[in-house]
Symmetry: C2
Subunit: 142 residues, 2 copies
């Protein structure tokens, strides 16, 4: 059983064949499909259709929304006009995007997280979410 499927069970999200497949594909979106992390709905639909041709894209949209609202997967809105998803990990992380290759490196920095909270508070707000993307260039090592 996929990790996402487990989370559905433990959170009382009703399971169907379609959802199980989408959960499976999302769970494998890192290892099995190589560097193609963060698939968008269309890509997800294609992958799922390899396993079951009858799953409609509407179902993928509905499921992905459901999983996101249940805190099981995470949506990203990169500058492309469409959303991309990844399984939610225990520990939150941000992304560094290689401006040359498009490669994505994930990282965590507690100090920055802490400062963000403080900035929000200073402005009279309570932080509920954030997005941090670093665009960078690889340093050549000779």
């Amino acid at each position: 059983m996929s990790k996402i499927e487990e989370k559905c069970k433990s959170r009382g999200v009703r399971l169907t064949d379609q959802r199980r497949l989408i959960a499976k594909v999302m769970s494998e979106s890192k290892s099995t499909y190589g560097s193609k992390d963060h698939p968008d709905v269309d890509e997800l639909h294609k992958r799922v259709n390899l396993l079951d041709k009858n799953i409609s894209i509407a179902t993928v949209y509905r499921t992905v929304k459901l999983f996101e609202e249940a805190g099981i997967i995470e949506r990203h809105d990169f500058k492309e006009g469409k959303s991309r998803y990844e399984p939610l990990t225990e520990e939150h992380h941000d992304h560094l995007i290689d401006v040359k290759t498009g490669e994505i490196v994930e990282f965590v920095d507690k100090e920055i997280e802490e400062l963000q909270k403080k900035v929000a508070e200073k402005l009279g707000y309570k932080l509920v979410d954030h997005k941090l993307e670093l665009y960078a260039q690889k340093i050549k090592k000779n």
Copy 2:
């Protein structure tokens, strides 16, 4: 003449009545520091139409794209499904978005900027750009 109109001239962007008006409205969209508005195309269209009812929304889309590509204004894709724009400023700043109202507060935090640079370096990269968005909820004050 608006600041944006000036930039158009200096960069050889052809000017028309429509573009002049859109430039004017965009230039005026920057009010007090700390809370200027970042209008979306629809809002921009409404404001421009107060001055000239005949400007079509297609023209606003085309102009906003043109200005962005000329490095005159900046596009943001916040988590709303539509783009919002602001005049490009000399000094970089980040955004806090009120998740309830969509209101935007700008801020600068040198410490966070510094840490970002360090994080990138630690990963073997040289930071060239970044995006930080805080999604937050206003703290009610009694």
